[in-house]
């Protein structure tokens, strides 16, 4: 318990220092990131973590904190900018859900106003069933790898840096009281693969 509390505190401490505040949402189904089926049928379900940490999307400049209105970095998080990335030749899908691209801003839920997930949490009950534990790990691997994909898309279009330079995505798995912290990152040991 101490360990998890300490890690949680890291996130909270960071919150006070970030110019663009982090946010979190529960049970968001990442409709914008359902994976394309492969020819061999190995299709993964879309991520739906118990908790997703990411960055907020602002519907308009009116929603931006006043001190940030004139800052370019803050304006990158406006809904219009996120939409433009999607409409660009790179087709970058930065939001978790698709509603931001099609819906009326008045209908946006808070879960629609999140982009760049950087941490996920998966929870299962306490069990001695190793299969259930493994399934929790696999769900976390799926979600965090998708989050890494989102970051990678932007990274590749920016300055051509290598994906190995990307910071990892953080994942927590909770099998009852057994909490684990995972890091998801690119690993080129066997070609282009993600290691969790």
């Amino acid at each position: 318990m101490f360990s998890s509390s300490g890690v949680c505190k890291f996130a909270q401490t960071q919150r006070s220092k970030m110019r663009i505040d982090s946010c979190s949402e529960e049970d968001v189904y990442w409709t914008n990131h359902a994976r394309t089926p492969k020819n061999d049928g190995h299709r993964l379900t879309g991520p739906k973590p118990d908790l997703t940490y990411g960055f907020p999307i602002y519907k308009s400049t009116d929603d931006l904190p006043k001190a940030l209105i004139n800052m370019d970095i803050a304006r990158n998080f406006l809904a219009d900018t996120i939409r433009r990335f999607n409409d660009s030749p790179w087709k970058l899908k930065l939001s978790l859900t698709t509603r931001i691209h099609h819906g009326d801003s008045a209908e946006f839920r808070t879960s629609d106003l999140m982009c760049f997930p950087w941490a996920v949490v998966e929870v299962k009950r306490r069990s001695t069933d190793e299969g259930l534990k493994d399934f929790c790990y696999q769900q976390a691997a799926n979600a965090s790898a998708t989050a890494l994909d989102i970051m990678t898309g932007l990274f590749k279009t920016s300055d051509g840096r290598f994906t190995n330079d990307l910071p990892p995505i953080i994942a927590f798995t909770c099998n009852g009281p057994e909490l684990r912290l995972w890091l998801t990152f690119w690993c080129n040991r066997e070609g282009r693969s993600v290691k969790v």
């Binding site: 318990m1 101490f2 360990s3 509390s5 300490g6 949680c8 505190k9 890291f10 909270q12 401490t13 919150r15 006070s16 946010c23 979190s24 949402e25 529960e26 189904y29 994976r35 089926p37 061999d40 190995h42 299709r43 993964l44 379900t45 879309g46 973590p49 908790l51 940490y53 808070t110 949490v121 929870v123 299962k124 009950r125 306490r126 069933d129 299969g131 259930l132 493994d134 399934f135 790990y137 696999q138 691997a141 799926n142 979600a143 790898a145 190995n164 910071p167 990892p168 953080i170 009852g176 009281p177 684990r180 912290l181 890091l183 070609g191 282009r192 693969s193 993600v194 290691k195 969790v196």
Partner: protein, 178 residues
Amino acid sequence: MPPNADSTKSPDADRSKSSKIKPNITVDNLKANGIEYDPTILRFHAAGEAQTEDLPPSIDGVRQFLLDFTASSIHEDCKSFMEHQLSEFKKTWTLAETATRNSWSLVPPTTAWWNPTFPDAEDDIRRQTIIDDIGQCRKIAEAAGDLQAATEAGWTLFLRNNVFRNFRGTSRPLRKYE
């Protein structure tokens, strides 16, 4: 739940159906999509000790940062208190538990301890804040102990309320030591 959403049903139930047709999360499917996961727990290294072998330097830096307690370090005065608590708690363990149970979550790692030289008054405030934090963590741990047979929904609610708190609509005053 949407038809393609991340399923929470048991893996046994998943295996009984054809994973070739329905979207599914399995080791094979993850691997086919270029995702490998390694459940091996990395050995903890305190700052200054040898790096973890398998992690690239940029990733290992984040790992060290996540496990660095210097932002929320505990005054060394609390060490004897926490060790005493652990020894008292261990008295309730069975012989088998003594042999197998980990105590890492009951006494923090070396990097968590902190012994600065600050003016006494400021030090007292910090110490009291940390003692309050430890007391809060203990309450959470005790509450978790009552949840052993809880359902997934019960654990989820508990963890959301106590460990993974929602950022939205919450604020926390800066503490003296921040």
